[in-house]
Amino acid sequence: MKGDGEVGGGPEASGASRARGEQSTPLLEVRDLTVHHGQLRALDRVSLRVFPGEVYAIIGANGAGKSTLLRTIAGLHQPTGGAILYDGKNMTKVRPERRATAGIGMVPEGRRLFGSLTVEENLQVGATYARKGPWTIEHVYELFGWMRERRTQRTAQLSGGEQQSVAIGRALVANPRVLLLDELSLGLAPVVVQRIYAMLPQILATGLTVLLVEQDVSQALRVASHIQCLLEGHTTLEGRPSEVTAAQVEAAYFGLTGAAAGSSGEESDTLWHGSTPSSRAS
């Protein structure tokens, strides 16, 4: 397992940060996205631009609309307003399976493996309509050493972390260009979360772009080259991890107004002692 220092902020991430700007075109763009769950407005005019090679992290508390945002990008929810552009094409009305074959991959919240299928069959289903690219079932077995030996087991018999690995593998073998990761850490022990996030540089090295949703803010800040914070469906903060202060993140996460909202680094020591907002919120 790699140490924390090696996990995030690698050359890929900083390169992508430099690429941000008017001249380069985003791989994935969301414009003024509004999504309703019945009467409830889950997302309110949220916009984001994800550039090639980036790790873009959406953070926010439970119910902030993070998962809704990813699911809408994947096509599992229809927005009531706004647009989703991928590779310059408008995908807003495109069916989810067409988005997947176009190169938008997703590891859904709760893993959502095919429980009656074996590990290998799960990967085979993921590869059914694969695009051309570096990822094969063999490569996934190389990335996760334990998987080959247990490929004939049903996924229902695996531990949470192993299931998450299979879910990631299932998304990778389709060779997506942008990978949506929805709450990888959910329900997993911290050490397992660390191990899974340690895989990220290897995955990024194959040229993938990642848009991830994470409740564990410290984890997100470590791996991301760009972050956006959601609160009750609104964007409350956006920027590079190096540009935002802990106090700003905290204010954006909890929706603290007044002093914290426009604060800079000096006030950050009061509420921020290494523990994450999520650990306090829970």
Partner: protein, 291 residues
Amino acid sequence: MAWVNAIIQGILTGGLYALFACGLSLMFGVMKVVNLAHGDLAVIGAYVALGVITVTHIPALWSFVIVVPIMALLGYVLQRTLIQAALDRGVLITLLVTFGLSVVIESGLLQFINADSHSLGVGESIVTGSFSIGSQIQIAYLLLLIFAVAVVVLLGLQYFLSVSRYGRMIRAVADDQEAAQLSGIDYRHVFGIAAAIAFGTVALAGIAYGMYSQFSPTTGTDTILLFAFAAVVIGGLGSLWGTLLGGIVLGVAQQIGAQINQSNQFLAGYLVFLLVLAVRPQGLTARRAQS
């Protein structure tokens, strides 16, 4: 000896019931559709076979070569239109819609054909022939053939589902439609394929019943659907081999009931059905009963 005969006849009839049931079980297992028009569709299959035989004069036995593809196509189209539209509005709606379909089919057959009973392959040796074991046991070739067809169909389905690409997709979609979509799979198309297969087995069931007995517009609900349900429930929902076991248990119970008193035949079958529901509601083969 009469009891042995009853059990043998019951087991063989179980093959016919398994054929009734496997399409129903498949539709429920993959898309959670309880198809109340299942029996009527089998009757349609029998009428289509009747038409094909009348026009082409091929033996009744071979009519399946034409009828199965026709019914499979009908299955795909019905699934992609009417049944999918119902599914999009909720599982309960599929009950109403397939019930409506059942009523429409029965009324349509009564309106546009007639209420007469028909049979397939009357006078053909395979339909009427039989052989004897000892003095009391007489086995009809047809019943033996139907049993063999049921076993072959179930083996084929099992093989298709476990090793083929589409079989794997069907199982994946049955597990989680959304996750399948994220893998680029259009579950509506996969549902269509599953329905086509189910309707293909329904066509076989209709032809088999047409040769075994007589059918009329109402046979679908008063015989085929009821026996199919009983076999599925006894065997266990969503289990393919459970349908064969369920069919056999139902068939044996009926024959033993008939042996005691001719009027008890169907009563005995339904008593076993109720007994299984009370004692083992998940069915006899419970392994894959839960979805």
